[in-house]
Symmetry: C2
Subunit: 336 residues, 2 copies
Amino acid sequence: MNDLLSRALNSEPIERPPVWFMRQAGRYLPEYHVTRAEAGSFLGLCRAPKLAAEVTLQPLRRFPLDASIVFNDILVPPAAMGMDLDFVAGKGPVFADPIRDVAQLKGLKKPVIAEDMPHVLETIKLLVAEIDVPLFGFAGAPYTLAAYMIEGSGSRHFEHVKAFSMHHPKEFHMLLDTLADICAEYLQAQVDAGCSAVQLFDTWAGDLSTDAFEKWALPYAKKALAGVSGVPRLYFTRNAAPYLHLIKGIEADAYAMDWHVDIARARKQLGDVPIMGNMDPLTLNGPPEVIKAEVHRIIRAAGPTGHVFNLGHGVLPITPIEGVHAMVDAVREWRW
Amino acid sequence: MNDLLSRALNSEPIERPPVWFMRQAGRYLPEYHVTRAEAGSFLGLCRAPKLAAEVTLQPLRRFPLDASIVFNDILVPPAAMGMDLDFVAGKGPVFADPIRDVAQLKGLKKPVIAEDMPHVLETIKLLVAEIDVPLFGFAGAPYTLAAYMIEGSGSRHFEHVKAFSMHHPKEFHMLLDTLADICAEYLQAQVDAGCSAVQLFDTWAGDLSTDAFEKWALPYAKKALAGVSGVPRLYFTRNAAPYLHLIKGIEADAYAMDWHVDIARARKQLGDVPIMGNMDPLTLNGPPEVIKAEVHRIIRAAGPTGHVFNLGHGVLPITPIEGVHAMVDAVREWRW
C-alpha cells in the first residue's frame, strides 16, 4: 500500500506531497462517459457498485495518483431520507419537492445505511480488494446538505436556505443536528467498509457570513466528524479564507483549502495541522510550463511536511487531460 | 449637504455610520421597472441622462439615505472601446464578439470620454443640482472589465480570461494597463462633473488565487485609483478575505467589504483605513428583528469611526422593500 498520504496526514517526513484531486473520476475523462451511458443515469451509476468502482478506477489507470475517492454523490443521504432526487442535464441535482416549510421536515426519515444506501459500502468493498492506494470516503456536511434540500438545486444566492434559517432558526438547528448524526454514521460505515480517510464537503458554507458560518456550519461539521474514528478526517469548504480563524474549531485532522487561499498564510493561521490543496482547477487549462510553475509554487508555499497536493475545488469537465498529466508529473518530480 | 459620509471617510467622529447600498437604484423597486420600460432597454436607460437621473433619485425618495450612486453600468467603457454590448433578459450583459485571441486587441479604440460616454457626465450634472447627499461615481476595475470582455458575459468559472492570462500574459498585462488608464480618466471625469466620491468595482477579482490577484488585479486597480484626485476613492471586490493582507497596496482611501468577511478582523488587518459594508444582502429577506440585530452586530464590530454601512454586495431583485426599510431604520437609530 502506498503510504505517502498517510505520512503526509501524520506530518511525517515526505520526499514530495502525495497527489490526488477532487472529482478525479468524472466528466473530463472520455471513459467516464462510456460507463455513465451504460449506467443509464447519474444516480444509477452511483447506485451500481461495479460501475461506480469502475469509474473510481479510471483515473488511477491514467495517472499515478497517491489516493482515490469512491465515486458517489453527496446528495445520496438526503435521497435516502425520502427526498425525490433527480439529476437534470445542464442543471445538476434537483429535488422535486424542496423543503420550504417546517411541516415538510416531519416527512424526512432517518435512513438505515445498510438498507437505504448499501451500494456505497459495496463499491468500497470492491475497490479496497483491488487498489493499492488509500481510498477516501466522503459526505456532504450538514449545512451544505440542508442548503440543497431547501433550495432544491444548486443556487446562486441561496435565498431559500437563508430565509429558512432566519424565519425558523429552531427547526433549522434541528435539521442540521439530524444531518450531523446521519453524516457521522454514514462516514463511519464507509470507514468500516474499508476507507482509509474521509472528507466532509461543506461546499456552500463558504457563502455564509463569518457569523452565520459559526452558527450554522461549524458546530454541525464538528459534530459530524466527532462521530467518526479510526481514520484521518478532512474538512473542505469552497471559500475558507473568511473562516480561517474559526475552522480549527471543527477539529478535523486536516483541512482542504480552496484556490483563493494563500496556503502559506493558511498554514500559519491553522498551526501544525496538515493541509490539502490548493491549485485553481483552471490552471490545468494553461500551458504545461505554467502548470508546473504553479504546482511548484504551491508546494514550496505549503512547506515540507503535512501537505497533500490537490486542486482547490473539483476538476472541471472542460479540463484537458494533458493538463492533468502536467500537474501530476510536476508533483511527482518535486523533491524536498 | 449631508456630511456624514464625508466624516466617516475621514475617520472623524460620527454619531452613527452613514448608510447607502450598492445597486440601491434597481430592480427591487417597482418604479425602476416603469422608468426602465420607458427607456426601452437597459443600455438606453444608462445613456438617457434624464431617465438615469430619475432612477438614481428613486431610492432617495423612499429611504433617508446618506449617499447616492449614479445609475450606470460598469461595461459602458468597454462598449465605448468598440465592443458590441447588449443586455439579454435572464442572462445579463453579453458581448457579441468577446476577445478570444490577441489579434482582436488591436480593434479596441481608446475612448474619448466627453464624446463616447457623455451621458454619464450629464447624468451626474443633473443629479448634483438636485440632491443634498454625496453622489458616488464608479467604474469597473481593469481585471473585472477584462474578464467580461474576454468571457463575453458573466461566467461561473472564468475559463476564457484565465486561459488568456496564462497563454498570453504579455498581451493581458497590456490590456489591463490600457484599461487602468481608461478607468482613471473616466473616474476623474465623473469627479470633475460633480461626484463627491468614487468606487472601483473589482467584482471578479475575488475569484483569483492570491498569487493571481497580486499579478492581475492589484497593480491595475492601484494604477486606476492613482489617477484620480480630489475625492475619496473606494475599492470593492466580491471576496476580499483571501487578499486582506495585500489590498492596502491598492492605496484606496477606503475598502468595501463583502459579507463573508468578519469586519472587526478586517479592520484589524487593514489598520486605520475606513471600511464600508458588509451585510449579506439576503439578510433583507429575514424578519425585521433579525435585520435589526444583524445591522447592530455589524456596526458594533466595525467600531465607532471610519465605517460606512452598506451591504456586502448589490441589493438583489428579490429583496422586499420592508427589509430595506428595516435596515435603514436600524442604522439610523444607532448611537455611538
